[in-house]
């Protein structure tokens, strides 16, 4: 790929980091004295996750989780599965799942269903970008960075055909 074409920058790096710091402060005060685990969902939340983790001023454990599309040989469709599981024990701990973006919420719903079975003390969602109007399932989104509309986005972890994740800002794609 020669260059990544996008329409306009929606959130520049400064704006993103300032909001991430606000979220970090809020989480630090909400989880004071609690055993906190933050789980980043690969790959989209990668940069948000690392910036957020460093903005939280608490002792915490962190891990990453990845969801993949595994073809099901018995059907023409396939199913969603965890391809990189959490390595640390989350039972009895307070968990925050960190996402880059939530739209319909189906992927996150699957993830929460799976994590809830491990009996954490609590489980909440923190997403950088959020479109509540498109959400089909009510999720425990306790923290979010910015509301977005239906546009296709790129940068700060989000990709188009695996390119563009390393852009320091978030831009609207030409689609």
């Amino acid at each position: 790929m020669d260059e990544i074409r996008y329409k306009k920058i929606l959130f520049d790096n400064e704006k993103i980091l300032s909001r991430v710091n606000e979220l970090g402060k809020k989480i630090s005060s909400d989880y004071q004295g609690k055993e906190l685990v933050i789980l980043g969902v690969l790959k989209g939340s990668l940069f948000f996750f690392t910036d957020l983790a460093r903005a939280i001023d608490l002792p915490l454990q962190l891990d990453m989780i990845a969801i993949g599309n595994i073809p099901d040989m018995t059907k023409s469709t396939g199913i969603v599965r965890i391809t990189k599981d959490v390595d640390i024990n989350i039972t009895g701990k307070h968990v925050i799942v960190v996402e880059d973006i939530i739209r319909t919420g189906l992927t996150t719903a699957y993830l929460l269903q799976t994590l809830e079975a491990r009996k954490p003390a609590s489980i909440e969602v923190c997403t950088l970008l959020y479109n509540p109007e498109r959400q089909l399932i009510d999720l425990p989104v306790k923290y979010y960075g910015f509301e977005v509309d239906r546009s296709w986005l790129i940068g700060y972890g989000m990709d188009s055909g695996e390119y563009g994740r390393n852009l320091p800002f978030i831009a609207e794609l030409e689609h």
Binding site: T77, E99, G105, Q113, R134, I137, D138, S160, E162
Partner: protein
Amino acid sequence: MSIITISRQMGSLGDEVAKALSSKLGWDLITRDLLMERFFPDIRPDQRTRLGESAKFYLSEYKDGKTFKDTLSESLLSMAEESSAVLLGFGSQLLFSASDKAIHVRIVASDDVRLSRVQKQFHLSETAASELLSSTDRKHKRFVSHVFGKDSTDVSLYHLVLNTSFMSVDECVAAILAAFHEHELRIRISSETKTEGAIDHQTDRPVFKNPSEAEFAKILDMYHIDWKYEPKTFPVEWDSEGNVTLAFSPDFYLTRFDTYLELTTMNQKYVTKKNRKLKKVKELYPGISIKIVYKKDFLELAERLKAFGSPDPGNGQEK
């Protein structure tokens, strides 16, 4: 609270099924002996013997003008208000026949299998075991027939009839648990908005009205999200005689997320109409969560479904 009743033939392993089931659920197992201790604490030994021998004796007076049967029924029904239990035998399927919180199971086995089990268990000759089986069968049947006026072998009294000639105790327990959980879910969905007038048609056979619905069901399956198809209808307008003139039947109910979903894959004109209907449902049935799946989201999700099976399923924009 919930009740599972187990009626069983002698030699059918019904007792073992009931025991395993109650321990799996963590519920009390209520047997005849326990009933006697709990509900008839002051019973005389001769009365206890007669209850064991004669079904008719259940219809005689216990105390305060009440028969043994009345006392038994009342005590069991009030117990069921307080805690969930597995009830073994004594015609309990008939005491709870009208309750939608109860499921009734009968455990049977073929005569040959029962005969060989009873022979082994009591070290009996084939003739003696056969006599014991037929006299016990008669006694069970007589009890239910005298006390409740019903035939305990009538399969229409039960939600499930399981045959241990073909199934192990563990298989029976798994089947009962699966039936119980599905039944409990259906009753919950059915009762949630009953008072506001919603119509329950979960026992209808689900048939997708169009290919989009079938496709959406596949999308939900892909995400391991449990669903029921069109379990309910919510009337929203009535004429002066109280007949329903406008109603809304959301396409899907997501059981774990307590949310109804309605698909709109048609043009904007109908979507506006649907949105109006939805607003009315929300006013008339407060507390239920209904969301619309718009055409664009549906198409994007369907696209993702198609991408499955390929090594690169897309760019992760659809979350």
